[in-house]
């Protein structure tokens, strides 16, 4: 498969913290809710376990499975939209989350890909991640979130 046959983005942020603390921030449902606009995740973080994203009103927005997990370094989530039929119809995507210590910070890399060109699902999630990552960085480094609501909410 060539790059043209898939849709993908790679987002990177450096957060002044430890891998263990960042891992906790990425897996603790209460913490996730604070930087993910009241959306949270239900998962027991074991290989093969179901993974679910739950919106503020308790509805299922995305679902999937933990394909790989190696705390506090790396996880791969099989990810499917459950919220919009046209995005769900695009099928399974793969989200890889990698943590790497760099000096006194942790480099957090989010790679999200789907094996189809011009994916609307990838376009939709790519718009959300920068705000989520900016919020996460701000929350960990300063104890405050930068953005309290999504545009249009």
């Amino acid at each position: 498969m060539t790059a043209a046959d898939r849709s993908q983005f790679v987002y990177v942020t450096f957060i002044r913290t430890t891998p263990a603390r960042l891992w906790e921030a990425l897996t603790d449902p209460q913490f996730i809710r604070q930087y993910w606009f009241n959306t949270t995740v239900a998962c027991d973080w074991k290989k093969g376990s179901p993974w679910k994203m739950v919106g503020p009103d308790g509805s299922l927005t995305d679902s999937g499975e933990i394909l790989e997990i190696d705390p506090p370094r790396r996880m791969v989530i099989r990810w499917q939209n459950e919220w919009k039929p046209e995005l769900k119809a695009e099928g399974l995507s793969r989200c890889t989350i990698e943590l790497e210590p760099v000096d006194s910070a942790v480099k957090l890399t989010i790679t999200h890909e789907i094996d189809r060109p011009e994916s609307n699902f990838i376009t939709a999630v790519s718009g959300g991640w920068p705000r989520i990552l900016s919020n996460l960085k701000s929350l960990i480094e300063t104890g405050e979130i930068a953005i309290t609501s999504q545009p249009g909410h």
Binding site: F9, V10, Y11, F14, L133, A146, I147
Partner: protein, 108 residues
């Protein structure tokens, strides 16, 4: 140089902004692909990409022998949160106050 300095320095060059536009239009390109439609030498593009990478505006991934370049918008979001959002707040508050006043008037 601080991260913010690297970031603003990277953004200060029109050639680098053009490269960012290229990646925005078509993400995950090799150096050769990026060079194709640009009026820049290969060496110039390489140097600009290094500056963008140091500022974390471009993320690089290896796939086999290829090196793919991806636009990373997260630092731009951080600039937005740090430098722009606060100037929107008074305007949003003014709109909110106006809405409240109009709705209160409607109830009279």
């Amino acid at each position: 140089m601080s991260n913010a300095d690297l970031l603003f320095k990277a953004l200060a060059d029109p050639g680098r902004r053009k490269l960012m536009d290229r990646l925005h239009a078509n993400d995950g390109q090799t150096l050769s692909e990026l060079c194709q439609h640009l009026d820049m030498t290969r060496q110039g593009v390489t140097q600009h990409l290094a500056v963008l990478e140091a500022a974390n505006l471009v993320a690089v991934q290896r796939r086999g022998r290829e090196k793919l370049h991806f636009l990373n918008p997260v630092p731009l979001q951080e600039i937005y949160d740090r430098w722009i959002r606060k100037f929107e707040r008074p305007r949003l508050k003014a709109l909110r106050d106006l809405k409240r006043r109009l709705e209160e008037d409607g109830e009279d």
